[in-house]
């Protein structure tokens, strides 16, 4: 079944329009030369080639006939906005240029005959293009390489003759020598074709524009839109996207000016949709996504309410859905080409909205198309047209070209609507919705919207449920359920569980059915009491091996099928025992277990209580309650059991031991005598099993400790430091704990990389290296007297930032005397802690000139400063012990590289800076020179002296080194005095290996008199230095501008004074005379 086309976009709309050029006279099947020419045209059409679509056609091909030109529009009434064939016609049928290929060399002996044949071919092409403005060009395929233009006299004569014979301008005749450089010639040819094509489309635009003056607003409204659209489309073919966009925008406004009525609203919407698509597409192409979004919003706002015929309201929803989907596709396409989207503005939202409209379409369709099965599809088919296609986009097939707003034939209209409704009935809506939703899910996953993703997955699950694909529905719902559970959104969880319960009922999935029922009966479920009551009754039925009642609002046919499944299951009765772990969710029975004392002497029975409380609406009976211990020998003593009787399961009054009444807490007390070999050991309740028919609930209770482990440390840890963690073990035993062993380190089972980047040691005085283990097993600690406390420092080095879990595990042997017998047993206790590791500081490095100006590159041999800035990010104060600059071979220090930040203490957020004066010899490498490393030795400021120093090595950035032709430096005192001579010496050093002409001048300043050469031209030999001596004589006190030195290099005009200012001082401080 082909879908109705009036909301799908035609391919010719969605493609990128390219100039259409046909090539004739090429025999690509039998002629190898022609084949090669054709291949060169089609192969490798990358983005750098001109956008042309080529087609090979025979010379006598019939092009679509041109209608006779209308001289007056006075009596013309258009029948619709845009003909369905128009775009395709100009993309694929009517060429902008027809090229006639013809094999002819300039020295052809039978020139006259050949010339005539060529002219005839051109004439045939012209005939078939009668009335069109299509250009014609001739390409002569030649065997010989042509001489340079003007040298071949025969060629230019014959070319002129040929042009004359064919009635061509000289610009339309080309020569294609069939030589080695075919592709090069072809590219030149197609560029020339492209120009011709552009001229053609330009004249077409002019032609359409010229119609405008004949139109009037009353009868030709449709033509305004049509013409505007055509102009825009031709502009696109001309690759003038700016004008295309402008014209599409005008066309869009004109569409909305049309008088809308129920009969033509589909046509208006269809055209608005097309034009909107074009506008958005062009906006994305112009990299103005915000314009595209604004246009789309405007489009939706304008069209949202234009529903049209109420009986076909689903069409509108489908159209809306298509609009959003198409925009989502465009957006996504633009992202693939480099656009960046954000969390709150990404294609997902459009797909989601498209899905929403698809859901609405489904709803409307189910409302409007629920015809009785006796209603048959009308015959003759009102959707059939004589030609098989529509004449105009967006018109009804049964009344094409009728502009009147009155329905001339109401009966026909009714049949038409009926046929559309019947067709809609066959559409697989769920499939469409699920596709759109999964598109949206993919987008939201990309843009960090986990909850939106879950929400859409719930919708997908529900849609699968409606589509009766219960297995897929259950899979999706089960997947997202835990997200809602872990965040505690009970209303949403209940709604999802309700759907999941329906799915599991319809598939007769026993275990799922029971699990979901248990959760729906629990405290967290927000279901009403009557619903809970119904679910509980069903649960009891299932436990008694009967079929449950169907869930409400299920499809009747599906219920019938599932009842059969349930019946089959029931008849298979027997070993239906499911263990359902309830740690992850809130079940309908709450459970707590508690020992009556922290420890029991072996001569006293161990006592403990188990409390149970039901949250379900009806009392529930259980068949067995059993407690499991770490030592399974005790399990047998702690069982409550009663013979199960089916008859009195729902008896409200039954107050037997095996019944849990809603809201009342029941206590079960147990006691047993511990075994002597367990003395000193822990007794631990591992689980509480509650058996309901064949159901079991399970909870884990706590153990009773007898020694305590405490950890003392100052988190977070800093990268690479020796992080000290003090473990305190305190014995609560009554006798000596012997052979106490401590296992400390990274908890196994975490990320494998962490093991490599974490080291643990007992000796904190010196830094450990990578060879140390991440876990220290069984460190002997010695003996522990009763009540004695023991402290053990553990040092941890974390090489990477992030959270790590550490395990501290104490085991010991203990001697106890029970009934005169001495028993030795091993006990253990563990403790875990999560420690975050953070960077201690951030280091920023910059390069500045000696005048502290920022440098993005340094100059060869000229000293510059390297500034480092250490910003403490540690929550604890840190001490910088020292710092060291390790220069690479290509850098040399100007003075001593001593550290200035030694023994500085940095609080959080404080920073320490230092700077070094460096020089870089000239290099040939343009990409940058390695500077070296900066080593910071630091430690946590702590009263403990023994904290080892950590060396953090920071690789300094590369720097671009540029050489300069001339270096100038000045020798002058640090200050001057009024009316005291101030000698200044400038050194000009030629850094090139050329002799340099230098023009030096000094501009006077108000504050100084000076003696010395005011203007001079001199030569400096390669590598040599010239000295200029001046005597400045300050006249005024204060910070004064020096007479400025100007240097002009003849060979290097871009050696500017700006550059010079970087090297020499411009000002000096002049003191008053004493």
């Amino acid at each position: 079944m082909t879908p109705p086309t009036h909301w799908d976009f035609p391919v010719e709309l969605c493609c990128r329009p390219m100039a259409f050029v046909t090539l004739t006279g090429l025999d690509v099947v039998y002629n190898a030369v022609h084949r090669a020419v054709w291949d060169a045209f089609c192969a490798n059409r990358r983005a750098d080639r001109v956008p042309i679509s080529f087609k090979v056609l025979p010379g006598d091909h019939e092009y679509p006939k041109c209608r006779t030109k209308r001289t007056s529009y006075e009596w013309y009434i258009p029948k619709g906005i845009l003909k369905t064939g128009w775009m395709n016609k100009h993309l694929n049928l009517v060429p902008a240029l027809v090229v006639v290929f013809y094999e002819l060399d300039w020295d052809e002996p039978q020139w006259k005959e050949k010339q005539l044949e060529c002219a005839t071919r051109v004439e045939i092409v012209r005939q078939s293009l009668q009335g069109r403005n299509t250009k014609v060009a001739v390409v002569l395929i030649q065997k010989k390489t042509p001489l340079p233009p003007g040298e071949d006299v025969i060629a230019s004569e014959r070319a002129a003759a040929l042009c004359n014979a064919c009635d061509l301008s000289g610009k339309s005749l080309f020569v294609l020598p069939h030589t080695d450089h075919l592709v090069g010639y072809i590219i030149r040819l197609e560029n020339a074709f492209y120009e011709h094509a552009q001229t053609y489309y330009y004249t077409e635009i002019r032609r359409v524009k010229s119609h405008k003056e004949f139109l009037n607003k009353t009868t030709h409204q449709l033509l305004f839109v049509r013409h505007q659209f055509k102009i825009a489309f031709f502009s696109e073919l001309k690759q003038d996207t700016q004008n295309a966009l402008k014209n599409y925008r005008t066309a869009y406004n004109l569409v909305h000016e049309l008088r809308a009525h129920e009969t033509n609203i589909l046509e208006i919407k269809t055209m608005a949709g097309f034009i909107n698509y074009k506008i958005c597409r062009l906006c994305f192409q112009h990299n103005t996504p915000l314009d595209a979004i604004a246009q789309f919003r405007k489009h939706i706002d304008l069209c949202k309410k234009k529903i049209g015929s109420a009986e076909l309201a689903f069409e509108h929803a489908a159209w809306m859905s298509k609009q959003f989907q198409a925009f989502g596709d465009l957006f996504d396409e633009a992202i693939k080409l480099g656009l960046t989207a954000i969390q709150t503005q990404n294609p997902g939202f459009y797909y989601q909205q498209a899905a929403y409209y698809a859901q609405e379409r489904k709803q409307l369709a189910s409302m409007l198309c629920n015809h009785d099965s006796s209603v048959t599809y009308p015959s003759p088919d009102p959707l059939e047209t004589p030609t098989g296609v529509l004449d105009f986009y967006g018109q009804r097939p049964w009344r094409q070209g009728i502009l009147s707003f009155d329905l001339s034939d109401p009966e026909k209209e009714k049949m038409g609507i009926l046929s559309l409704q019947l067709k809609e009935k066959n559409v697989l809506h769920s499939e469409l919705i699920i596709t759109l939703l999964s598109n949206a899910v993919a987008q939201f996953k990309k843009y960090k919207c986990p909850r939106m993703k879950s929400h859409l997955m719930v919708q997908m699950g529900e849609e699968y449920y409606y589509a009766k694909d219960y297995a897929k529905a259950l899979k999706l719902l089960d997947y997202v359920m835990c997200e809602y559970r872990s965040e505690g959104w009970w209303t949403l969880l209940t709604s999802i569980l309700t759907t999941a319960l329906k799915c599991s009922y319809l598939m007769a999935q026993l275990k799922d059915y029971i699990t979901y029922s248990l959760e729906l009966l629990g405290r967290a479920s927000t279901l009403k009491e009557d619903q809970k009551s119904r679910i509980e009754k069903n649960l009891i039925k299932v436990l008694m091996n009967e079929s449950p009642d169907p869930e409400p609002d299920c499809d009747t046919a599906a219920v019938k099928a599932s009842q059969k499944l349930w019946a089959d299951r029931v008849s298979l009765a027997g070993s239906n025992i499911f263990t359902i772990e309830v740690q992850d969710f809130i079940p309908f029975v709450q459970c707590k277990a508690k020992f009556l004392a922290p420890s029991f002497h072996v001569d006293v029975p161990v006592q403990f209580d188990v409390y149970l409380r039901a949250d379900c609406p009806h009392p529930i009976r259980f068949s067995k309650l059993c407690i499991s211990f770490n030592n399974q020998d005790y399990n047998q003593y702690c069982v409550v059991e009663e013979a199960y009787q089916k008859s009195d399961i729902l008896e409200q009054s039954s107050q037997g031991t095996m019944c849990l009444v809603p809201g009342k807490t029941r206590k079960f007390s147990f006691k047993f005598v511990a075994k002597t070999e367990d003395v000193g050991k822990k007794i631990e309740i591992t689980s509480v099993d509650l058996i309901l028919g064949s159901e079991s609930g399970r909870l884990i209770a706590r153990k009773v400790p007898n020694i305590s482990v405490q950890l003392r440390h100052e988190p977070p840890a800093l990268t690479n430091e020796m992080y000290c963690l003090i473990v305190t073990v305190e014995s609560h035993e009554e006798t000596v704990a012997k052979d106490v062993k401590l296992t400390a380190g990274l908890k196994p089972g975490q990320d494998a990389n962490l093991t490599q980047k974490t080291q643990v040691t007992l000796h904190g005085t010196d830094a450990c290296d990578d060879s140390f283990p991440a876990l220290l097993p069984d460190i002997p600690v010695g003996d522990l007297q009763p009540g004695e406390k023991l402290e053990k420092p553990i040092y941890i080095r974390c090489g990477t930032v992030g959270a790590r879990m550490f395990l501290f595990y104490i085991s010991y042997l203990i001697n106890t005397v029970v009934e005169g017998k001495e028993i030795l047993c091993r006990c253990h206790r563990d403790e875990t802690v999560t420690i975050d590791t953070v960077f201690p500081f951030d280091v920023a490095v910059k390069f500045v000139s000696t005048k502290l100006e920022h440098l993005d590159r340094v100059f060869a041999d000229i000293p510059f400063l390297l500034m480092t800035d250490i910003l403490s990010a540690s929550p604890w104060p840190i001490t910088i012990v020292t710092s060291q600059l390790q220069l690479s071979a290509s850098m040399t220090p100007v003075d001593q590289l001593e550290s200035y930040v030694g023994n500085v203490v940095l609080q959080t957020g404080e920073s320490a800076s230092e700077c070094f004066c460096l020089r870089c010899p000239p290099v040939t490498n343009a990409s940058g020179v390695a500077t070296g490393c900066y080593v910071i030795s630091w430690k946590r400021s702590s009263p403990v002296e023994s904290v080892p120093v950590v060396n953090t090595i920071i690789t300094l950035p590369h720097v671009i080194v540029e050489s300069i032709p001339l270096h100038v430096n000045a020798d002058l005192p640090s200050f001057g005095r009024v009316r005291e001579s101030l000698p200044v010496r400038y050194h000009l050093q030629n850094k090139t290996n050329l002799v340099q002409d230098v023009e030096v001048s000094v501009e006077p300043s108000d504050a100084f008199m000076f003696s010395g050469l005011k203007q001079i031209r001199l030569r400096i030999l390669p590598g040599m230095q010239q000295e200029m001596l001046y005597n400045f004589y300050p006249l005024m006190a204060g910070y004064q501008q020096l007479p400025s030195l100007h240097v002009n290099l003849m060979r290097f005009p871009n050696f500017t004074n700006q550059l010079l200012r970087r090297f020499i001082p411009t000002n000096i401080f002049v003191k008053v005379r004493l």
């Binding site: 939202f349 909205q353 909850r451 929400h455 209303t491 949403l492 709604s495």
Partner: protein
């Protein structure tokens, strides 16, 4: 004015959700829940700024076809989310801000109640009345 007002705990579970009774309540639950994506993102982006200079009002979280969702986060990371009908253009940013401020004040009053355990769902007549007053103005 608002069609749905929600208070979300630091751990992102709802403390209070109230929507206009005429519409599907579940839909608003989903709207509020999904808006937490944007809230989380905004908070983590803000985390770098100094805590005391932080703006509590998060602005428009995201517009849907029919609704606008606004967010506000207190210093203790309790979030307020407000859903407003898109067609209601009269509501300016300033009004939304003042509504949030009112909500925040009322929430602070609840926290001052010695019988209220922080983290419990909110059951307070005063809060209900205040929320109602923000929602009633629709009609």
């Amino acid at each position: 004015m608002a069609v749905c007002i929600a208070v979300i705990a630091k751990e992102n579970y709802p403390l209070y959700i109230r929507s206009v009774p005429t519409e599907n309540e579940l839909k608003f639950h989903y709207t509020v829940h999904t808006s937490l994506d944007v809230v989380d993102e905004k908070i983590s982006a803000m985390g770098k700024a100094l805590v005391d200079q932080r703006e509590l009002y998060l602005g428009l979280l995201y517009p849907t076809e029919d609704y606008k969702v606004y967010g506000y986060v207190t210093n203790s990371k309790v979030k307020f989310v407000m859903v407003v009908d898109s067609s209601n253009t009269a509501l300016r940013d300033n009004e939304i801000r003042s509504m949030f401020r009112k909500l925040h004040n009322s929430y602070t009053d609840i926290m001052c109640n010695p019988f209220y355990n922080p983290g419990d769902r909110i059951h307070s007549r005063a809060f209900d009345t205040m929320v109602n007053s923000m929602m009633m103005q629709v009609c």
